[in-house]
Assembly symmetry: C2
Homo-oligomer: 195 residues x 2
Amino acid sequence: MKAGVLFSGGKDSALAALLLAPHYEVELNTFAFGEGRDLRAVEAAGAALGFPWQRRTFPEGTLATALDRLVADGYPNGAIGLVHRAALEVLAAGHKVVADGTRFDDRVPMLDSGEARSLMDRCGCAYVRPLLGYPRAEVDRLVARYFVIERGETGRMPNGDYEDELRAGLRERGLDPAPFFPPMHEQTLVRGRQG
Amino acid sequence: MKAGVLFSGGKDSALAALLLAPHYEVELNTFAFGEGRDLRAVEAAGAALGFPWQRRTFPEGTLATALDRLVADGYPNGAIGLVHRAALEVLAAGHKVVADGTRFDDRVPMLDSGEARSLMDRCGCAYVRPLLGYPRAEVDRLVARYFVIERGETGRMPNGDYEDELRAGLRERGLDPAPFFPPMHEQTLVRGRQG
């Protein structure tokens, strides 16, 4: 069975793909708002993992809706959650199994039980979260065992995080993105496999 | 890293062990209240999976506490949850990683986030639930792919379910167990691996 995995190039979605691999035909999927977004480093991360990789584009209007929500809230949680759900919806339309790297300790993005069931009911698909039952310490231990990763601040890491494009979208609306986001949000990018 | 997995002999805990196996040294653990409980079929299920298996006994007084709760509630959810937590506590005292077969759709036994964090904080261990992010349909599909299982009603299946000993404990107190439990509670027992 093929599993479409949402993949940012970061450690969590990489580990989710690795845990699925013995049991599913893993396909990595990275979403961007625009055709112009440079995802070469994410594609390279996928290649380092040894899984096929697909670039996906959000439906027209997703960025505008997310920016409206971000401006209304003043902080990014709702907008990031909305974008994550939009990516799952697109993926679920073409896959019987969709997956992501949501961890036990995650707060955003995180679908609650009702949202997860609703996604599965509407799409007739299974939504699998291989890391949902793993606490952070075990995720980090397994990541260190399997991957070479690079760490850095959002905006300086060429991964598939949505924050970068949301910041650019705010600037296009003439708004300073800085007050909308926490100051130090560490991102990771998989650079290779260990050993 | 060794992972102590709570194992009833049934499909969910067997699948949890299988998902952990590429990443952990899996040890199956089955708890009984009394030394006299016949766990040969559970031991055979562990052998069919190819993992080492340990018989464990609950601390003195666990059955009495669980029966008190069961009688007070009139239904088994609280007692089953209490017994499950007691098993995790014993296992966590001797393992850095403890695991079970709790699924996304499970209600009982299920530790909520706070209880899971509390267990990890107190024991300095990681509590891993490999199936927590898997909906029932995917669990059942993978189970059918990997295992030969037998299905039957509680009390007629020689697995490591706690309900059997709770029923016996009620009878020893002169109580009819029937009204305390749902009438048809299907159990499974792993009889072998597919293929």
